[in-house]
Symmetry: C2
Subunit: 435 residues, 2 copies
Amino acid sequence: MVDPGAANLHLPAMTEANEFVTSLASRAKTASRALVSLPGHVRDTALLRMAVEVRARRADILAANAIDIAAAGEAGLAAALIERLKLDDKRVEKIARAIEDIAGQTDPVGQTLEGYVRPNGLRIEKRRVPLGVVLFFYESRPNVTTDAAALCLKSANAVILRGGKECLHSNRALVVAIRAGLEAAGVPQDAVVFLDNPDRALVPPLLKLDHLIDIVIPRGGESLIRAVVEESTIPVLKHFTGNCHVYVDASAGTIAEQVVAVCVNAKTSYPGGAVCNAAEKILFHQDAAPLLLPRVAAALLAKGVEIRGDEATCKLFPGAIPATGADWPEEYLALKVAFKVVGSLDHAIDHINTHGSRHTDAILTTDTRAADRFVAEVDSASVMVNASTRFADGGEYGLGAELGISTDKLHARGPMGATDLTTYKWIVTGQGHCR
Amino acid sequence: MVDPGAANLHLPAMTEANEFVTSLASRAKTASRALVSLPGHVRDTALLRMAVEVRARRADILAANAIDIAAAGEAGLAAALIERLKLDDKRVEKIARAIEDIAGQTDPVGQTLEGYVRPNGLRIEKRRVPLGVVLFFYESRPNVTTDAAALCLKSANAVILRGGKECLHSNRALVVAIRAGLEAAGVPQDAVVFLDNPDRALVPPLLKLDHLIDIVIPRGGESLIRAVVEESTIPVLKHFTGNCHVYVDASAGTIAEQVVAVCVNAKTSYPGGAVCNAAEKILFHQDAAPLLLPRVAAALLAKGVEIRGDEATCKLFPGAIPATGADWPEEYLALKVAFKVVGSLDHAIDHINTHGSRHTDAILTTDTRAADRFVAEVDSASVMVNASTRFADGGEYGLGAELGISTDKLHARGPMGATDLTTYKWIVTGQGHCR
């Protein structure tokens, strides 16, 4: 097919990249076909063996991690980022326990979602089945490698893992343990395939393999996700980051201490506020603002948070920096927050639906009608009543772990666990029925 | 914003198209916000009033339809297509009844899908909510207009309808009745918005309104769907057509009459075989082929079906035309079928998973283990055991009507009813919980 006289110097490399990723994805596809017929107890055994292998290979895993940590230090990565990369005995044990937790969950595969008999005697059943092959992009923390592999195996999907290059050695060592666990349980090792090459040139051809891969889940910075959406012909489940709100209702004056505690928790409980479920905006009903806004502001300021605000905020709390229109849709991912005083619950809901990111938004209130309206009308994946936005998390929701937090409305919304990696099949049983 | 001296002659028209569709979609978005707080009984009342209005306006609807039919005749449309367009008293009554059926279904909105309390006392609930605004593209039959409007209202979604231009007058008259029904029940009329302009230039700007529209469902020919997927920045739920298989198992010799009846039904029960759930391929296990293949072939031939086949088929039934490799993935949508003799159940499953379209595939068998394996391993939206592929249909599955048959694996798979137009929301309730 290739004209040897052609001037396109990229062609041989492109072809090679294509062949490499196609072979990788084909191996995953073949494994996924085998997984469909494997009973749940075999998949659970493989998960338990994975945990055994992780513990047994702790020394190797820590040695590999030390290489990543040293490289990260040399590359001048931020201390907080290096901290996220780092493994120790305790963290390795936590990784093994998380896999065991997922093994202990109810098997989502094969569940009957609905089943009934039609008047003509046809039996109709809607049964949960795996998606097939999952392509998962992620960054930093090494436990994401084992969480993702475990959630995919639990749901009988094969997975292609492509982690961040800053974590390559750690991930490689973890994948060795994962695949040893699979082998020990008689599960095809290619149920977990690792893209052991950080070359970015491999990504575009991978994203075109829609005949081999069923879903792409990119978890990471917004630019990674946008690039994947742009390139991919495979359906993408997006995990954009969060511009989360806390709305302090008119009725919140009697729960002032809770309001202060929840606002501080929502903004500062994750180091540096650099997490998608941290509160970025706090809206105060005008009747509650005089009492509560200065207290919340003082508490946040004491934690080192920069406070911006609209005009009314700056009047109530002169330490605030005037906010501009650009602040409302922005996700700071930092120790910054913007306050706004709103005239009504409607105003708050409208502000959140207009400027929010449909991730997680909270109301602090003692008024049940306000809570009900907030829950019904705020169009976000998670809506919290009298709780910190920081609870929007697969572990906190009892999913064992999460593949990410979907900001899409289709398929899965909010924290995604093993069940979100399934689809269903209609099974129709007759006795020679004709229509 | 527009420089009057600019040379771009398309700009004014483009701007106009943009403004037109943005205003249309904004109206739908505003209505969708109101629908969220409307109780189910109000939506059901609106559906019942729609049915009343359709019956009351029967004369207008038939007069409008006569204009479309006359235009179709002048344009030289095929008789079968004109037949699909045509309304009469009986069909109008059927339209009204279908709306009433949908009104009588259980309300999907507000259902609790899961609900539990975490060890820390947080209550977690997963509650079904509407998607928001649905953009629906479709062709021909006028009842699709009312089915789609009714399914969207049932699920508290606003809908933008864009039907085929050959059906414009009929659709317009039906939408008048639909909106009169909404008004009579106090539901915002913009819950159903009709794109009353067949200009194709309006489609691309419409498909960019991802801040106003939540999902696009294109139902029609493959070229329409591919064009929508190409252009859209809104998530698309695809309804590609079907390359459906019937596999006649080794054990089927004792149910020979059923085999003949189901194969004939699957291929010919829809006029001209021009429907996505018609069988396009029939695979015979080599042990069953000598007895059954000639009988099935003769029965299909008697119905005017052209029979193609692999070498083994041509030996068993010399009237068959030799098939080529291009036949296996092709969807004929015509009175054509291709036969293949396979060596085993594995071979049949592999052929279907390789060449099929993941729509609907059937096994005819008396062997429970073969049935179980076929059901587990064939990766299609609907898998039939001893029933015609023609049953893959929302009405036949008891969904009241359907918006189409999804060939996607994410979100909804197979026939889509009102429930498939919903997503969910996580509702987390605490008492001042901090993480």
